[in-house]
């Protein structure tokens, strides 16, 4: 998504306008609506390009049409994707997903530093022998299911955006990311990390960056950056807990524990309940996250100060329930803006909690819980 470079109206005035609107409305702002349309349009354009590479089925013989998505393509030469905007043609035997149907497309980058190289499994296709493709497929499905069932959101853009995921990207790559168009998983180096598909909170976290891109558009620095990072941990954790049938009391509130290499078993990347305690060992060093505003690091990496917001959500979820807290957070996200600060978020969240309480969606004490936990965290 393109970020505007220059605002005619100064940022602080826009922020005040946004804040005033956010406290009164429960609908997403119009700026957020237009962002979704752009990405959906770009995806349709890309997928129209792919469909053009698939020849028409031969006149002899049956064409199998799976129940939920498009026709099976017939033999096409597999061409390598040369850029992010021109994925390879759908290989023989795989479903051809229709744009806007929240379908999954999994690609194997074969340890190259390139995207969308070989399409190996699409929506409704059977599992493959290679494990990480299926983990990615299942994790994307779990994330979509959480967004649909708990938050009423139709894929990342709320318009059924199909989900592109890449596994085996690069060599010993210690990372996973959402690049604006696709979800990418590395294999890990084997020393600190295993394959990044091994913990469902990783794709939950990364795909949520997509949701944030289409809603609040929180800038990736300072407090907006920490809010952006925390939002990804928050909904990543919600997906993880849901998959494991856990609630706020039984969930471990850890991020990334599933991708730690065997020698680091028991460590995790982040703790939402106790920021700063996720890891402490000679290989990784010590978890630097602050737990409250008292430890806020000015100019800190978004992954550091996100601890303050993570614990705030943990406290709200522990009081109100995980789904209830998730709904408050989602309503809040839809009413934030790119430069929103922690204190703005607390005001918007309390206002949205009142709206949801009036609708009977969350307990009537929710607004006070939002404010009280924000105050405990030093945010207000």
């Amino acid at each position: 998504m393109n970020q505007p470079i220059c605002y005619y109206i100064p940022a602080h005035v826009l922020a005040n306008i946004n804040l005033a609107r956010a406290k009164d409305l429960s609908e997403p702002g119009s700026l957020q609506q237009s962002a979704k349309v752009s990405e959906a349009f770009r995806q349709r354009r890309r997928q129209a390009g792919t469909a053009a590479l698939t020849p028409a089925p031969p006149s002899a013989g049956p064409t199998r049409v799976p129940a939920s998505s498009g026709t099976r393509s017939h033999s096409v030469p597999v061409t390598r994707g040369s850029s992010a905007l021109a994925p390879a043609a759908i290989p023989a035997g795989l479903t051809t997903p229709i744009p806007g149907t929240h379908a999954r497309l999994i690609y194997d980058d074969q340890n190259q530093w390139a995207f969308d190289l070989v399409d190996v499994r699409n929506e409704d296709d059977p599992a493959l022998p290679g494990q990480n493709v299926n983990l990615a497929y299942d994790a994307l499905g779990a994330t979509l299911e959480f967004y649909r069932e708990v938050l009423g959101r139709n894929s990342i853009d709320n318009l059924g955006l199909n989900l592109d995921a890449n596994v085996n990207y690069g060599v010993d790559f210690d990372n996973a990311f959402w690049d604006g168009t696709r979800m990418v998983f590395g294999n890990g180096d084997g020393n600190i990390f295993q394959d990044f598909t091994k913990d469902v909170d990783v794709p939950g976290h990364e795909l949520t960056h997509g949701v944030t891109q289409f809603t609040a558009g929180l800038q990736y620095s300072d407090q907006p950056g920490a809010l952006n990072e925390a939002t990804s941990d928050i909904f990543g954790a919600c997906v993880d807990a849901r998959v494991n049938h856990q609630d706020a009391g039984s969930f471990n509130w850890l991020i990334g524990e599933g991708i730690m290499a065997p020698q680091l078993y028991g460590e995790a990347l982040r703790s939402m309940a106790y920021p700063g305690t996720a890891y402490d060992n000679s290989v990784m060093g010590r978890d630097p996250q602050p737990a409250t505003m008292a430890g806020y690091v000015p100019g800190g990496d978004p992954h550091v100060n996100s601890g303050i917001i993570n614990r705030w959500f943990y406290l709200m979820a522990t009081d109100l329930g995980m789904d209830e807290a998730a709904k408050i957070w989602y309503a809040t996200l839809q009413n934030l803006w790119p430069t929103a600060q922690f204190a703005d978020t607390a005001q918007v969240a309390a206002a949205q909690a009142r709206i949801l309480a009036r609708a009977g969606t969350v307990p009537s004490r929710a607004p006070q819980t939002v404010r009280g936990t924000a105050r405990e965290q030093g945010i207000i």
């Binding site: 970020q3 530093w113 690069g170 060599v171 010993d172 210690d174 990372n175 996973a176 990311f177 959402w178 690049d179 604006g180 180096d189 020393n191 600190i192 990390f193 990044f196 990783v202 976290h205 990364e206 960056h209 800038q219 990736y220 620095s221 952006n228 990072e229 990804s232 990334g256 990347l269 982040r270 990784m284 060093g285 990496d301 978004p302 992954h303 550091v304």
Partner: protein
Amino acid sequence: MKIQFERKGGFAGIPVAATIEVDQLPQPQAKDVHRTIEAAGFFSLPSNISAPAPQPDRFRYRVTIQTPQQTHTVSVDETAAPPALRSLIEKLSSLARKK
């Protein structure tokens, strides 16, 4: 030749820092490193190569190369690295991991 390699960011947010003494590497490997540095035009690169908007969970690298003649530092966002610099970073990442 001494190389200081640093990486920040990523999903894990765990920083990496390593010093690579190129002259102490096996000869073929040292030559390969020299070649990759030259192909990247490292000493002519700007000291800051940033993406227009930082992408979440991506890496940011800082590479300092020191020879008897010169020292140069390049800070670069993963998404903004030109291909030849990207190759150098991959090579240095791999060497840093082995330490």
